[in-house]
């Protein structure tokens, strides 16, 4: 029964670490991706993203007036924009709701490294969703597009779409990190930006600053099918600093110091 044998080679009473290597970051990312796929919640979420993306494009094929590639791509933005944040949230909160954080942070005590591996996994899953959307949108355009379906397609528009979807998955992750609770994170990540948009648009003195503080306003041009101006990019960057980077830093700081139990 030597499976239960302590290291034989080590002299009694010595914990020799000279040959030890830290857990590679890439391995942590792979584990995070696996964690997303091996539970029903995660799996169904990914399946839903695939199915809804396909579904809106079928509807697009049947219903849309202008069947161009850019319009097809934008049609997928809505279902993905709704579901990708949940994916980001679950990546973080399931560790707390299921209390697996205790095991995760025991296997890798560098909690920052674990959280960055989750960010990486979120980006990779977001990119996978984007690629899926682009591939299916291209297929739909090729099959049923109008004669000049590709005329307004450009790499820059595709990149804007990528940015939009990545902000959406990372925005979810950040809310998950702030609340460490699935329900609270989901509700707030939908309700708070909307409430914030409403308030800032109601109060007229806010109108000038609104695109600088309200992510909804700042991200609207990303979905408009227009190339963004420099100022519009600044809006996207500043609102992302406020709504993604800052809360991420706060959430990270808290998790690094917190007691995990």
């Amino acid at each position: 029964m030597n499976v239960a044998t302590p290291h034989g080679s080590v002299a009694p009473g010595t914990l020799d670490l000279t040959a030890d290597k830290p857990v590679p970051f890439g391995r942590l990312v792979k584990v995070e991706l696996r964690k997303m796929l091996d539970t029903r919640a995660g799996l169904w979420l990914l399946i839903s993203i695939v199915l809804l993306t396909g579904l809106v494009l079928v509807i697009f094929l049947i219903n849309a007036d202008d069947k161009s590639f850019v319009n097809a791509m934008q049609a997928t933005a809505t279902p993905q924009g709704i579901l990708l944040p949940v994916l980001g949230i679950l990546l973080v909160t399931s560790e707390w709701s299921q209390r697996t954080a205790m095991v995760t942070f025991t296997l890798e005590p560098h909690r920052g490294k674990v959280l960055w591996s989750k960010v990486t996994a979120a980006v990779l899953l977001g990119l996978a969703a984007v690629v899926l959307a682009l591939v299916v949108a291209s297929a739909v355009t090729a099959v049923g597009g109008t004669s000049d379906a590709w005329h307004d397609a450009s790499l820059q528009l595709v990149l804007q779409y990528v940015v939009l979807q990545l902000l959406s998955v990372l925005g979810g992750l950040v809310f998950g990190l702030l609340f460490l609770n699935t329900a609270a994170a989901i509700v707030t990540s939908y309700a708070l930006p909307i409430a914030f948009s409403i308030i800032t648009s109601l109060v007229s003195s806010f109108h000038k600053v609104q695109p600088w503080v309200d992510p909804g306003t700042a991200q609207t041009p990303l979905q408009s099918g227009e190339i963004l101006s420099g100022k519009e990019w600044s809006h996207v960057i500043v609102t992302s600093l406020i709504w993604v980077v800052l809360p991420f830093a706060i959430g990270m700081w808290r998790v690094l110091r917190a007691e995990v139990k």
Binding site: V3, A4, T5, D20, K30, M102, H110, K261
Partner: protein, 307 residues
């Protein structure tokens, strides 16, 4: 210091409440050390401090001379089971191990070996943890702790929820691990469990170490209690036989001598005895019972009995 688990003056406070109060002890390689204390004594908190999940307010815990967080890929050296229920209910037992194995970098073959080791191979490994009994979760947790082929084990209440056969199995597993040079620290709130498994014992109550030593030392009840019909006559008889005895205040005496020597001295002098028995007080059982009963807690922790 090698594979020794060392706590030096570890203190953890929650607001005004001190859950772990200046705790120091060591757990040695080659031995199973039982960490015994009633519920709420501070065992789990101390163990979380050892693996860096709970930052202490003071003191430090090291394993083999290193802070846990400074060990690269620590699961290859230290097997940890803190809470058997802290597993994703929606994963299968095998998948739980697979995730740990992937993280620490041991292959899927090792997962199968560990499932085999804890008796969860076959259908049980395919079931979701949600449908596991507490005993099965404990076995899965043990498999998880052994996965990285560690030389140190830190196990929080691993016997909880196991049936007698399971306890017996666990005993064999941990004893073998220790006999091959491994260090085992396991906590329990049941004296009997620790008695069965451990070589050394650390007794904690209200966050403070109350007693520590080998099992033999701690379970020993030294000396004799004797209560005669006529105290003066017995004292004279004992002095005549060269046996020292101290009045215990209730008409009886305590003595370092064995009951048989006192019995003989009394018989030789014709003194009638009402009671003659091994003295209580140093006994772990009594100390533990006192710890467990709420009203006795104050007095025993204040004295801080050391054996």
């Amino acid at each position: 210091m090698g594979r020794v688990i060392t706590l030096e003056n570890v203190t953890k406070r929650y607001g005004a409440f001190t859950a772990v109060d200046d705790v120091s002890f060591t757990a040695q390689p080659g031995r199973v050390t039982g960490f015994l204390g009633p519920n709420g004594a501070g065992k789990s908190t101390s163990m979380r401090v050892m693996v860096g999940l709970t930052p202490p307010n003071g003191g430090r815990a090291t394993i083999g001379g290193h802070l846990y967080s400074q060990i690269p890929n620590p699961a290859r050296h230290v097997g940890v089971l803190l809470d058997a229920s802290a597993q994703h209910a929606g994963r299968t037992g095998r998948e739980v191990l697979r995730i740990s194995a992937d993280t620490m970098g041991v292959g899927p073959k090792r997962v199968e070996e560990m499932l085999e080791l804890v008796g969860l191979s076959g259908n049980e490994a395919k079931r979701r943890v949600r449908n596991y009994s507490l005993g099965m979760r404990q076995r899965l947790g043990i498999a998880n702790a052994f996965l990285g082929d560690p030389s140190v084990l830190i196990l929080d209440e691993p016997v909880n929820g196991l049936d007698p056969a399971g306890i017996h199995w666990m005993r064999g597993l941990l004893r073998q691990f220790a006999s091959q040079g491994g260090t085992v620290l396991l906590s329990s709130h049941l004296l009997h469990e620790v008695e069965m498994i451990a070589d050394d014992m650390i007794l904690i109550g209200r966050g403070k170490i109350v007693a520590q030593g080998t099992k033999a030392e701690l379970l020993q009840t030294r000396g004799t209690y004797v209560k005669p019909e006529d105290p003066a006559a017995l004292l004279q008889a004992l002095q005549g036989a060269g046996v020292e005895a101290i009045p215990s205040g209730d008409g009886g005496f305590r003595s370092e001598a064995e009951p048989i020597d006192i019995g003989r001295a009394a018989a030789a002098a014709g003194v009638v005895l009402i009671e003659l028995k091994p003295a209580e007080g140093a006994g772990l059982e009594e100390m533990f019972l006192q710890l467990t009963s709420d009203d006795a807690r104050e007095s025993i922790t204040a004295q801080g009995v050391q054996v």
